[in-house]
């Protein structure tokens, strides 16, 4: 019983991590039909900015819990800055091009931004463990867990719920859904698709940066972290269905809990599990678990 509960907790924490790194990717794909490889850069810049701001904050005498604001400030700064620069400065010139060209362009930007990151922060790793230390630990079924990692579950739930409510219950969300459903008709009906695209891309970028910013206190923020994330995020999004937020959530839960079970019961296949799930889902349902069926225009 203890092991089962631990698997569930471990699985939920890892699922939340997966959801946080994947949700921005799926939001952008859902609205703009862009597979945004630069998402890995948003994550990495979010992590570096978070580590920098947290480091600066804890050099002051300000209240300790204020350091958490640095995490969200980092995500906002990185997401808004890179979201606007990339969407307005690059992607808008490519919307009429083939989607493969856009993927290549975002991949090129990812490579450029990896070098920009090195230029700004160098190769030395950055540590920002203070928020994690601050929250301490808690025992669940006689096993110690750090509270900070558990808060990731709450954050993922808030982000998921917020995005879902925003999309289904607000005017802006309905405009977005209209654009997702049919870009041309939406434009003909007077929706400013240009603004919708920019706002969506910025939201996706903030989500990507928030993933990195929130994870930063638990890791060594060092070169290359964005590369790993984009592969994981892509796997989760493909399983859930490209562009589906509930899909990303279910995909993350499926992968996270399966992986946790593998770690505890069959650690040799931990790595295999994630991609095995992806392969099975693609074999049975190539569009992913939750992607809506696409009507073909004639």
């Amino acid at each position: 019983m203890q092991e089962l509960i631990v698997i569930l907790v471990d699985g939920l924490v890892f699922s939340s991590y997966l959801f946080m790194v994947a949700v921005g990717l799926t939001v952008i794909f859902g609205v703009m039909k862009i597979l945004n490889v630069t998402h890995g850069s948003f994550y990495a810049f979010g992590a570096y900015m978070s580590a920098t701001l947290i480091g600066a904050y804890y050099k002051t005498d300000w209240p300790e819990f204020g350091g958490f604001l640095a995490i969200f400030a980092a995500a906002l700064i990185v997401g808004v800055f890179f979201g606007i620069i990339l969407e307005r400065g690059l992607l808008r010139f490519l919307y009429h091009r083939d989607e493969h060209i856009i993927v290549l362009a975002t991949f090129a930007m990812f490579l450029v931004l990896e070098d920009v990151l090195l230029l700004i922060w160098g190769t030395d790793p950055y540590f920002a463990f203070e928020p994690m230390s601050l929250l301490g630990s808690v025992d669940i079924v006689d096993l110690t867990f750090d509270v900070y990692s558990l808060t990731l579950i709450g954050l993922a739930a808030i982000v998921g719920l917020g995005l879902w409510l925003g999309l289904t219950k607000t005017k802006w969300g309905k405009l977005l859904l209209a654009v997702i459903f049919d870009r041309e008709i939406s434009q003909a009906m007077g929706i400013n698709v240009t603004v919708v695209f920019t706002v969506t891309f910025v939201i996706g970028a903030i989500m990507g940066a928030l993933g990195g910013a929130y994870i930063a206190p638990t890791i060594s923020v060092s070169p290359g972290i964005g590369v790993e994330v984009i592969v994981l995020a892509f796997a989760v999004v493909v399983i859930g269905g490209m562009g589906s937020i509930p899909g990303a959530m279910i995909g993350a839960l499926l992968v996270g809990i399966s992986r946790a079970a593998a770690v505890h019961k069959f650690p040799e296949i931990e790595l295999f599990v994630i991609y095995a799930i992806m392969a099975i889902v693609l074999a049975v349902r190539p569009e992913g678990l939750f992607a809506p069926a696409q009507a073909r225009k004639i």
Binding site: S137, T218, S220, S222, G224, I225, E268, L271
Partner: protein
């Protein structure tokens, strides 16, 4: 254009142009210099832990060699390699084996490189070995750890050398340390990255433990996280729930540091005895966040283990390194410098044997094969794999924080001789371990 119909003037112009083109294709390196390619991780996850410290270590030593400023025992060896200045071509090892093989060929065939001293990743070393032999290019691996280089990939190397012990030595030294210092250990488990280095490290430690402490069982649930995964919540839970108290880990770099942060927050290092193979790369960076009380190795007598080695060469190296980079040299810094010193030793010895004339490649190789030369922290014995594989002493200890000095230090250090931890010449490491480590001189 028909060359046969050209006049002598046009033909001369064409010949000049062709000559210029050729000189661009293979740039003429000065006759009084030796072009040394130094591939190391300058970007990506391997850069902070190994790549950049290795580059720094190589830079310090190359600069001193060129100026003739090396202390004893190299203080009377003159400037450069056998009198010729080193022209270092330092470049990024990132990108994987295929890219690096292409770059290796490019450096050899178009840029006139004379020798390579570098490569950190075991995967890259494995890919480069056959190509270096094919192109007859003197190549010194100073760091990569997989035993497979000379045990499987090329058993009779001529042009490839490795100037430090391989993973078998790490596993044997660790198991010997456990046997001597933890006689009451009842079982062991592990967390190692799921690729060549992690698998080799666990295999050799496990095989050595089976020989040295046969009654102590290994867990069947050792952990195999993906390299660079960065998230270890489930693995830490599994380790904490396991009945084994001893945990073996060859994690390195960002993975190691993330594991330490996440493990510390959950009390892992209070509950378990963790043995880290290569954690020396991170101890200075982590400062007070390092897992004090853990058992540590540095793949030999390097990094923090060399802090107390009182020789002119080591004292000079540490001082110059710290003055320049503001951090103490770690394992990779020592190992890269040791690789460059192998070239210094070999060129100088070959020139001496050649009557003072600059030696050719075969003479340099002959000088290095089977030689013993002085590394920064300890002698290096090139006496395995037909004189191409080094053996050095090994050190394992317990990490503690020195309150007075305000820095991490090693305590309870045990030193193991090269013939204790490395398989004897001509013997495969795995077979040696399975056969009871016959011939080990401990």
């Amino acid at each position: 254009m028909n060359i046969l119909k050209m006049g002598p003037g046009k033909a001369g112009l064409l010949a000049t142009g062709l000559a210029a083109a050729v000189s661009f294709a293979a740039p003429a390196n000065a006759a009084d210099e030796v072009v040394m390619a130094v591939p190391t991780f300058l970007t990506g996850a391997g850069a902070p832990a190994f790549g950049v410290p290795a580059r720094n270590g190589a830079e310090v030593i190359i600069e001193a060699i060129n100026k003739g400023k090396l202390p004893a025992p190299y203080n009377n060896s003159g400037k450069g390699l056998a009198g010729r200045q080193i022209k270092a071509v330092i470049y990024d090892e990132s990108g994987g084996g295929v890219k690096q093989v292409a770059e290796f060929r490019n450096k050899v065939q178009k840029q006139g490189v004379d020798l390579f001293v570098g490569y950190i990743s075991s995967g890259t070393c494995a890919a480069i070995t056959p190509v270096a032999e094919e192109l007859k290019m003197l190549t010194i691996f100073p760091i990569c750890g997989t035993p497979r280089i000379f045990e499987e990939i090329n058993k009779t190397p001529k042009y490839v050398f490795r100037t430090m012990g391989h993973a078998t030595a790490d596993g044997v030294a660790e198991a010997l340390y456990v046997k001597a210092n933890m006689p009451g250990v009842k079982g062991y488990t592990g967390i190692n990255q799921n690729y060549a280095w992690g698998q080799d490290s666990w295999r050799d430690f496990d095989l050595a433990m089976k020989q040295l402490m046969p009654s102590v069982p290994a867990s069947d649930k050792a952990q195999w996280p993906k390299i660079f995964s960065g998230q270890y919540g489930a693995e830490i839970s599994a380790l904490m729930l396991s009945k084994e108290k001893l945990v073996h880990s060859s994690l390195w770099g960002g993975d190691l540091e993330a594991f330490i942060f996440q493990g510390s927050a959950r009390g892992l290092f209070r509950k378990k005895d963790v043995l880290f193979s290569v954690a020396d790369t991170s101890v200075y960076r982590l400062g007070k966040k390092a897992p004090f009380g853990s058992i540590l190795g540095a793949r030999g007598p390097y990094g923090i283990f060399a802090a107390g080695v009182d020789t002119p060469l080591n004292n000079w190296f540490r001082k110059v390194y710290i003055d320049r980079y503001s951090v103490p040299p770690v394992g990779g810094s020592y190992q890269a410098a040791q690789g460059v010193l192998a070239a210094k030793y070999a060129y100088d010895a070959a020139a001496k044997a050649n009557g003072g004339k600059f030696p050719n490649k075969d003479q340099v190789i002959a000088a290095l094969e089977g030689a013993t030369y002085q590394g920064i922290a300890a002698p290096v014995h090139m006496n395995r794999s037909n004189g191409h594989q080094a053996a050095t002493k090994h050190m394992i200890g317990v990490l503690q924080w020195d309150k007075e000095a305000g820095e991490p230090i090693m305590t309870k250090v045990t030193e193991f001789g090269p013939d204790c931890v490395m398989p004897p010449p001509g013997v495969n490491g795995t077979e040696w371990l399975k056969g009871g480590m016959k011939g080990a001189k401990c």
